[in-house]
Symmetry: D2
Subunit: 386 residues, 4 copies
């Protein structure tokens, strides 16, 4: 629950963090979109601002005037269906609005929001809407970091940039985590915020299982590479093998050999791979193949949730072996704000935990992140069933 007297401060604190992430960027870095999954940073900054404008200010702040009437189809995720002019508006092709205009848009909305929040009646409905907005902005903060890494990590100059995260934190070692056969309750049980896909509290029956207390390290993953893991059909799912063949994948994203030594792009530029750090930027296909090579498997999301308080997590999103599907009793909320999670319950894999890019306070052991299995650009890692 949000303490009532801090609404404006909380709003501004979260808003400032989005800008802090971008502090090291050049104007040009805000603009490009090297692949469809990545959005230009300026689009993220505009989109989350548009969210506050559209879902809070327009319906709730009397007399509010929108900053620019055309921004709704530039910064709306679904703008294809709203646009009045028939123009392809791929995000990475848009030089306008400029970065300065986007920051002006943010400043305008922040001022209006502050004024609104200072006077607002903290009704449960408003609190719920603000919490959704905070969490929406935090999701985009994580994407801002991973998208900036992709943009700079695919530039031939491989530039370093200041970024307020530590990509390879030292985590205290955990013992392996054991869960005993029986019934477990799955889903969010607290009284704070959670997304709709975590609701639908329900029981699952799990078998005896042991999860590794540690994530797979770069050094361990390197053994898989050196053992010819990427050349052997038998370790891979059929779709995964097709992905290897199509992309020519030979290692995690951002890995390059320089004079025979594996390096990886980081926010400090190209660095030798640290064998003790947790492997990152692997697809679920790679995680699954690695597990088969080790003679084991990835945990299900239910095993993970049941065991999560027994180990340290939070540096890598951990691929599970669970497809992203609705919990029993899941219902899609009415209206544009609530609908979006359910739409993606096809073809995606659940990731659990959080990563070094996840904003403080945005992590929960019941959080269900989800991406397509070929995805590598998030800070994704591997925890094995033993």
């Amino acid at each position: 629950m949000i303490a009532e007297h801090t609404l404006t401060q909380q709003y501004l604190r979260i808003r400032h963090h989005s800008e802090a992430i971008c502090r090291g960027l050049e104007t040009e870095d805000y603009v490009v979109q090297p692949t469809a999954d990545v959005s230009p940073p300026k689009w993220h900054l505009g989109h989350i601002t548009w969210f506050w404008e559209t879902f809070v200010l327009v319906p709730h702040a009397p007399g509010y005037r929108v900053f620019h009437e055309d921004f709704s189809f530039v910064f709306n995720s679904y703008y294809e269906t709203v646009g009045k002019r028939v123009l392809r508006t791929d995000r990475g092709n848009l030089s306008r609005p400029t970065v300065a205009q986007v920051y002006a848009y943010r400043a305008y909305v922040d001022e209006q929001m502050s004024r609104f929040l200072d006077d607002a009646e903290p009704t449960p409905e408003l609190i719920a809407l603000l919490e959704l907005g905070f969490n929406h902005e935090q999701q985009h903060q994580e994407l801002l970091i991973t998208d900036i890494k992709y943009i700079l990590g695919h530039n031939p100059l491989l530039p370093a940039v200041e970024m307020p995260i530590r990509e390879n934190p030292t985590l205290a070692t955990s013992p392996d985590a054991h869960i005993s056969e029986g019934i477990y309750i799955i889903g969010y049980q607290g009284d704070g915020f959670c997304f709709d896909n975590e609701l639908g509290l329900h029981r699952v029956y799990l078998n005896d299982t042991t999860l590794s207390g540690a994530l797979v390290t770069n050094g361990e993953y390197l053994e898989f590479i050196q053992a010819g893991g990427y050349q052997q059909f038998k370790y891979w799912l059929s779709d995964g093998w097709a992905w290897v063949k199509r992309t020519g994948a030979k290692a995690p994203l951002y890995w390059h050999t320089v004079d025979g030594i594996w390096h990886t792009y980081t926010f400090d530029g190209l660095q030798p791979v640290d064998p003790d750090a947790a492997v990152s930027h692997v697809s679920q296909y790679e995680a699954d193949a690695y597990a088969r090579w080790k003679g084991t498997r990835l945990p299900t999301e239910f095993e993970w949730e049941a065991a999560a308080d027994q180990f340290n997590w939070g540096s890598r999103w951990e691929w599970t072996n669970s497809a992203y599907l609705p919990y029993p009793g899941f219902t899609t909320a009415e209206g544009a704000v609530g609908e979006y999670n359910g739409k993606f319950m096809s073809g995606q894999i659940v990731l659990r935990g959080a990563s070094v890019a996840t904003p403080d306070g945005h992590a929960r052991s019941t959080y269900r992140n989800f991406f397509q299995p070929h995805t590598q650009w998030q800070y994704t890692g591997i925890r094995l069933v033993k």
Copy 2:
């Protein structure tokens, strides 16, 4: 368990059924491949023969000589990796071997198999291998029927052909099926044959659920079409909506309007849609959208299995809301014969039940069929949770 004294007869009975399915075909019908999912009938007939040759005769029949040394890379599902010459060998581009040669191949292998089985020691290993072969051939029998339907149903002459199945059987009505909250055991518990993906007997915890006793009919589905179901984003999964946009889907596969009346291609040629028959040839995207339009959902594969003895099933493969994933304890068998189910545990959806094209004796309530969610060419239908 197969009764020992009938091995040869059982073998021949199953083999003859494959040929019975093709009895009405012209030579040309055996050759074409109008889409990647469909294989030419002659390829099916050759492939299942190659299976017997490769996995039974070559390793177990002393002195066996292969019929033609080049057939292994023509009829092997994985022949791309075995071929000695670098030629594209897309199945639908191959006029040779001819249909007559494929039937000669079958006759040769059948004679050798008969001779072998007459004298064979019915060891458990042999019985297991034969049962796998029988089930493998039966899987291809169902595909033969659906692939022939696709080939003829995409020919502008829409020819009728004799086929030993009834596409729209009259099923006795079942009452709705109720399962009570609690633990259910999932997986194959008999001592006959089952596929590896049905093993890994395990418990699941299910909530109170009611499944409809009846499949959705054409008439009911037509209401969805007429209500503009295919035009409204809100009923569709994100991937499903992209599929609608990409394919221009407006109705189940094989449906055409003739003078404003919906018709459907059947083995009797183009016929008016029967409103009382169970809808068929829908993708999971369509099944899911229909369910949302009705305010409900598809069952999970576990709910289906737990409730299956309460209703009649077997005319349509029933889309579930479960991704095709390994059961706890699933392990991939060693070697080429056993491996293939596990490879596909990514991006596929489980279908339960059986269809009018499923051979007698090949249906089990624990059977886990699986296809990608856009697939329509199987006899796929819809059962709703109430």
Copy 3:
């Protein structure tokens, strides 16, 4: 000019040649289409029959009844725009009409045509129409041969088949051909049949040029391969290099190394490459790169026509360096019969001469054949400017 009293015989003689080309085929060989440029032999046989039916019998033979009303959209080159049902009708996916039905169609039309021609008044209009029909059928006869070669030459069994041509004839050697600077008249000047694209008799001014009397041989082309010609950007047009990279081309079509020896598929099966035979099945990109490697160039179509009576030609279509464009004064004839050549005057290259697959009497030194520059499946060869 066709002698008036032989119309029926001439018609039947040409018709029978189409069937003679197919004599060695299995039914299955008539059906497949391994690439978009190739049509199934049964489509060719049906299409040229449809031409006679549509353009001669229907408008001119009183009381003629079409063989089958649906054949017009199956065998019409432009049937996509005529079809009454919305079905994809890619030629290679059509098992029906069967080969037997196509032959029945031919027999029916031949009988009706014979009856019609026996009684017909040989007006100039009719003679012109018949000549167009004869030449149209002869064009498809050449395509039948090259398409059959493609179908069988892309089958992993590489079957031999009887074909009434000699692929590598021995041609008497010609001296080099010299043309002197000056004005030359280009275009068809006879009073027999020619296509519309040969008309528009006009003058061109040519420089002193010498054309080789001989075609480039396999042995000579092999030197280009062995000199690394396919690996060096500098010899290739930009589009040609992109084609090499996209297709991985390393040699002419149908060439394969077997134990280090270059072989080529012929109608006698796979045979060692004959170093003395004229190279065949090269794209214009390859012809152009070969010429650059030799420090010379391909002739223009005008140089070729001006020099053509000085050398033997007729075993290979000879790539020129001329784009396929209208002659001055070219006009598109009115109506469906006449229009088709002009439509393709974009993106195509002129080939001159004729090939071993060209029917007797179909070759003229003014004939302008044309294909896209990447095309290899015709009997295409190289003659250099010296």
Copy 4:
């Protein structure tokens, strides 16, 4: 010929014009690449600088130090084959080097060039190299203008921007131009600069022809649109019709209907189409279809050159009916500088004249511009044969 004492001034004058074109841009406008044909302005600015550095300073200026060793693979047109790291470096995905760095690069090279030119011996070789560099930069100046128009004209805000050209100049009317049958000399005959593709002076024989003294206007082209020109197969080349179907083209590039009125994007923003201005931004397919609809044709490049001094030209590049092919005697110059024109002599169409975006002094009546026939983003127009 360049007057010897003005080398530095001439250099700087041309260099400054490139920057003048970009004066109205925001930083973001320099970065994006909405389609493959368009390059980001910052790439153009860097590439032409790299040209001076690589072909003049590095080989000729003693002791020159390159500005940044990585820029050669960022700004080299052919950098794909030179790169030391395996990274996709699509131009539109590169945020770095920044615009400021590119301007610093320009300033550095300009200073070094000035110093070099002040002292340089004006040998014929140096003069020739400088002239090539000037013309190369001028080519990119025209592309800068058309690429900027594409970038802004595909932005949903359709921003206006200052640009030192007049898009729709008023041209004095010319009478129709007549050429009489006979021999004409084609190719560059002056003693100034020309590109290699204009050399190979040669004679062509032309028929009596009349070219319109005026370009087709928007108003005239609008009649074609309103007559259903884009809906009728018969006016279009086969490739052109495929282009219409694939792209959904209904009008020239940049045309939009607003409340039923045709508007077009200009550097002043969206403006109503001026019926009296010369039509622009049409593909050759459109130019050719328009000509057929009018019952006439486009001129050949030889007719155009022979008639060019009889009419005003220079506001639109004029599509011809000539493929881009070598003149007799054309030879590719040795080395990287000279080679590039010959590489593209496949699949391209010649345009003659010049456009409102062509820099002063860069136009010649023998200039052979060339683009693929579907191209629309240049200032391309239509002049008909009468």
